[in-house]
């Protein structure tokens, strides 16, 4: 019997136990689209400074969950609290503390990278904008391309600029929705460097991913979501990287 087959799943954590330090608290979250229930009473909690990889198959509810955290979609039932603010009542306060990167860049192709950041900086009311834009372009390695139109950028460069857009207002919480989608190996590796840099600054990060190896490399905690609930959760120091696949499979099968 191989090691992966005898691996014992750690018990799913109760999110409320960690609520004293929680940056994100979700309780009994339900999301319905018409008759279809996508999230079924989900509990979730993330401590300040944690990097959580949210793993799950297609259709598990990862993107829906992240869109609710990002205040882009309203929960049907349940409570969501981010950085001490409730959603959807205090959505503007939450948005001020949130940076979001999805598989779409959310950038304007007919503006330069500098103009895109300047536009979003104005929307967020960023102080000393020219200096901050220069700093962020340096962070994502796009200073030499600051005057180039975004539509001339490769997918990897667009994704790096998307991260720049998301960190421009120095958010406490970062949400990444499958940021590696459509990137080649080199671009993914470069994106990982930027992600590590973003996380190293003490931000709380939640990232959805299909790529277990990449998640294992970046995250400090792995939660598995299946059929609209978190079925398992484990910290990186509690599991060997080569056991992550077995952990993931058992979590999916047990749902």
């Amino acid at each position: 019997m191989s090691q992966s087959e005898i691996f014992v799943l750690p018990s799913p954590r109760a999110p409320q136990l960690r609520s004293s330090l929680a940056m994100i608290k979700v309780r009994k979250l339900v999301k319905r689209f018409g008759l279809k229930t996508v999230l079924r009473g989900m509990d979730f909690s993330v401590e300040r400074g944690e990097f959580v990889a949210l793993l799950g198959p297609n259709g598990a509810g990862k993107t829906t969950f992240l869109r609710i955290l990002a205040s882009l979609s309203r929960p049907s039932m349940g409570g969501v609290n981010i950085a001490g603010y409730r959603l959807p009542d205090q959505a503007a306060a939450v948005r001020r503390r949130l940076g979001v990167v999805s598989h779409l860049p959310l950038l304007y192709g007919d503006l330069t990278s500098e103009e895109n950041l300047r536009f979003y900086g104005r929307m967020y009311g960023v102080q000393d904008l020219p200096a901050r834009v220069a700093e962020v372009l340096e962070l994502v390695g796009l200073t030499p391309r600051r005057r180039d139109l975004v539509r001339t950028f490769s997918r990897g460069m667009q994704q790096r600029l998307a991260i720049g857009r998301a960190v421009l207002h120095d958010p406490d919480v970062m949400l990444f929705d499958e940021p590696h989608t459509g990137l080649d190996q080199d671009a993914s590796a470069m994106l990982d460097t930027v992600l590590r840099e973003v996380a190293a600054r003490g931000r709380t990060v939640v990232m959805t991913s299909h790529d277990l190896a990449r998640a294992a490399d970046l995250a400090s905690r792995f939660d598995v979501i299946s059929r609209g609930v978190i079925t398992a959760s484990v910290h990186s120091d509690e599991i060997e990287t080569n056991n992550l696949l077995a952990f993931y499979r058992q979590a999916i099968q047990s749902s």
Partner: protein, 244 residues
């Protein structure tokens, strides 16, 4: 008393901050739309080419005699058909740009009053529509041999365009979520905007044939009322329209 005064001062400061944030976000959206359009010229050129084609088609298809060409009713009708159809192209494209790369989500993620996004988009659309109208009017004047340099007519065009863009921007934000957005927008828009077009055509006709102001005023008032109502409704419902 001092505490009351201080809290009232803080409240007014907060309100001033909200207004400043609203105007800043609105200005940013307008600046972004204008900058992108100045570079790509996709929207203006599409609207303009379409408008010129409609002028040509009417010119040949109606095969009008010189007197009928200058008929104020015909002129006002043809002008507003041009503005409305060209405007629909612009409204569709303006919102499609936001949807294509997920930029609408980028806008909605900003910690601003979402109606500032609406007013920014509407103001941008109005500027594009007015630019097309400024180009169309002299061309129409030359081809149809009609003097359109009439201050009253220009006011009607401005008021009509505001009403059209106010409701059009809101409905374009709704239609853009659908797969069939290109055909959905005119279907949604034309019945709702009909009172604006009707009032605009009637008021334009009045100014072109030199009617008494007493006869034109009701149509002007109707335009102003519709502009205010549509802007207020859009202000109230935009947040719900763009949310899932």
């Amino acid at each position: 008393m001092t505490v009351e005064r201080e809290s009232s001062y803080l409240a007014s400061e907060k309100n001033a901050g909200k207004v400043a944030s609203f105007l800043r976000a609105m200005g940013a959206v307008v600046w972004k739309d204008l900058s992108a359009e100045l570079r790509s010229r996709e929207l203006i050129s599409a609207m303009l080419v379409f408008a010129l084609l409609v002028i040509m088609i009417f010119n040949f298809a109606l095969d009008l005699d010189p007197a009928t060409r200058r008929d104020p009713t015909i002129t006002a009708g043809v002008l507003w058909v041009i503005f409305v159809f060209a405007g629909t192209l612009g409204l569709n494209r303006s919102m499609a740009v936001e949807k294509d790369r997920g930029c609408m989500d980028g806008l909605l993620l900003a910690p601003v009053d979402r109606s500032s996004i609406y007013f920014g988009k509407a103001l941008g659309n109005l500027i594009f529509m007015l630019m097309v109208e400024i180009i169309v009017l002299p061309i129409y004047s030359v081809l149809y041999n009609v003097n359109l340099l009439n201050l009253g007519l220009l006011v009607v065009i401005l008021l009509g365009s505001i009403g059209y863009v106010a409701v059009g921007t809101l409905l374009a934000a709704m239609a853009v979520q659908a797969r069939t957005r290109d055909i959905l927008l005119p279907i949604l828009l034309f019945p709702v905007v009909l009172p604006v077009i009707l009032a605009a055509v009637k008021a334009s006709t009045g100014f072109l044939d030199g009617s008494e102001m007493e006869l034109i005023r009701p149509w002007l008032n109707l335009l102003i009322v519709y502009d205010i109502i549509f802007s207020a409704v859009a202000f109230m419902v935009f947040d719900y329209v763009v949310e899932e």
